[in-house]
């Protein structure tokens, strides 16, 4: 009797904790789909504490890496400098000629207007931590809600698409990389305009699943965002096709993409401070609104 009395609370605690975990997952999933995850202060405090701690811990490692890469870079810097100066001269000349051509055709003003329309303010952010679990690919950056970062904002680097902000606290934010298994992005082959879905595989490569089985795709084709998902703006560089599989009897044609961004060396990113139309529509929906858009059942893509 005494033993069963002692066991009862444990079984109740197990049931309670399991229920809390499951309910928490369901609520969090709804949050991801419907309104973004802007953590309240009490919940986000761990992220806010983790960011500077991770930054401090990484500092000595970064110093060693920077010193080493700086030394290696120095060996090539003279040659690179000469090449770049020649390239700058060539591009300046080309730019001048293009401007002349545009002015001549009267399109410059229209292009300037278009740029104003599409130009998105970007916030530079330092990557301070990477997911400790090998089963998820997310990063922690040192900019949060106090700097205007919100869930659903795209994250890029100077080389291309990095991922999407999935949760924010006051001073930091969590971004899911395109490499993560939960990520999918609508992409297009720049050369042939063949469209498909780019999916993370959890590895350092991406998978491109084409809409049409007879899509025109070749190795070294460039893949960019199509803008159709309404999450990422059109034209962000995703990567280069490294392998094309024979569709065989399968319905879909698949290819492997080498991402443009070297995620192993990623240090600084830019958060695009404007959400795509789909994310804006989903996340600006008030909590308790009974009629969320039907597309929200899927993950951000």
């Amino acid at each position: 009797m005494a033993e069963s009395d002692r066991r009862l609370p444990v079984s109740l605690i197990v049931a309670g904790l399991v229920a809390i975990a499951v309910v928490s997952m369901v609520v969090d999933r709804r949050g991801v789909i419907e309104r973004g995850r802007e953590f309240p202060a009490w919940l986000g405090s761990l992220l806010d504490i983790a960011a500077p701690v991770q930054d401090a811990v990484a500092m000595p490692f970064e110093a060693v890496r920077d010193t080493w890469s700086g030394y290696i870079s120095l060996l090539h810097v003279k040659l690179q400098n000469d090449t770049l100066q020649r390239e700058v001269a060539r591009l300046s000349e080309e730019n001048l000629q293009l401007r002349e051509a545009l002015v001549a055709s009267g399109r410059l003003q229209r292009i300037a207007d278009m740029r104003k329309h599409y130009e998105v303010p970007m916030l530079p952010a330092e990557l301070v931590g990477v997911d400790a679990s090998p089963w998820f690919r997310s990063v922690l950056v040192d900019r949060g809600r106090d700097r205007g970062v919100l869930s659903g904002m795209p994250v890029i680097s100077e080389k291309g698409l990095v991922g999407l902000v999935t949760a924010t606290s006051r001073h930091s934010a969590k971004a899911m990389l395109v490499l993560d298994r939960q990520t999918s992005v609508d992409g297009v082959i720049q050369r042939s305009r063949s469209r498909g879905t780019v999916r993370g595989r959890g590895s350092d490569e991406l998978e491109f699943e084409f809409v049409a089985r007879n899509s025109d795709v070749r190795v070294n084709d460039l893949v960019i965002t199509s803008g159709l998902g309404g999450v990422y703006p059109k034209g962000l560089f995703i990567g280069t096709i490294s392998e094309v599989s024979d569709p065989g009897t399968q319905l879909m044609r698949r290819a492997t993409i080498q991402p443009a961004v070297d995620f192993g060396r990623l240090e600084q990113v830019f958060v695009m401070l404007r959400r795509g139309p789909t994310m804006e529509l989903l996340y600006s929906t008030q909590v308790g609104d009974e009629s969320p858009p039907s597309e929200s059942a899927g993950p951000p893509s």
């Binding site: 809390i20 975990a21 990484a58 931590g129 400790a132 679990s133 993560d180």
Partner: protein, 179 residues
């Protein structure tokens, strides 16, 4: 209380520090220290109820720092704690070798759990070859670090004196005198 706080500190500091380290080393080449702390709790923590609450708390902390859904790793940590607790009652897991084998198995189950929950709750795919490749290196590293981490948990579990024993002695002493 001190022991609980110390374990919480260790269990939360582990993923934070690992997060910083993983900017240089891929996660699959590092052990999951917070997961190993939970296994250590299952093996050595005296109170099952307290251990369960600790395991869930550490899981939620890992969820906050990770790309998982809030509660996903908490649920798996509860299962890991339960498995370690149950196994320690039937097997001798005090040695480094049996502990390593046990941790390899539990790491594989944890990966399967992640994949299963991903299929149910997110758009993430199930268990695949990439996951299997990552699992091999990750499980091996977990096995290598399992023993030292569980010894650390054992040391914390027995540190700061034995509170329960002390309380029992205080209650019993007057009874003996009254008789």
């Amino acid at each position: 209380m001190k022991r609980t706080l110390l374990i919480l500190l260790i269990g939360i500091a582990a993923p934070v520090l690992q997060g910083a380290l993983n900017t240089f080393v891929p996660a699959r080449f590092t052990p999951d220290l917070a997961f190993l702390v939970v296994i250590g709790l299952g093996l050595y923590w005296r109170s099952t109820a307290g251990g369960l609450v600790l395991a869930a708390t550490l899981g939620f902390a890992a969820d906050l720092l990770s790309g998982s859904l809030l509660g996903q790793q908490a649920l798996l940590r509860l299962l890991a704690f339960g498995a370690a607790r149950s196994a320690s009652g039937h097997l001798n897991l005090r040695g480094a070798v049996p502990q390593s084998f046990f941790v390899v198995g539990l790491t594989a189950l944890n990966a399967l759990g992640v994949a299963t929950l991903n299929v149910f709750f997110t758009a993430g795919g199930g268990f695949d070859l990439v996951m299997l490749r990552d699992l091999l290196s990750h499980a091996l590293l977990n096995a290598l670090f399992a023993f030292p981490v569980s010894r650390l948990v054992e040391a914390v579990a027995t540190a700061f004196g034995d509170d329960e024993g002390a309380r029992r002695a205080l209650r019993l002493t007057p009874r003996v005198r009254s008789i």
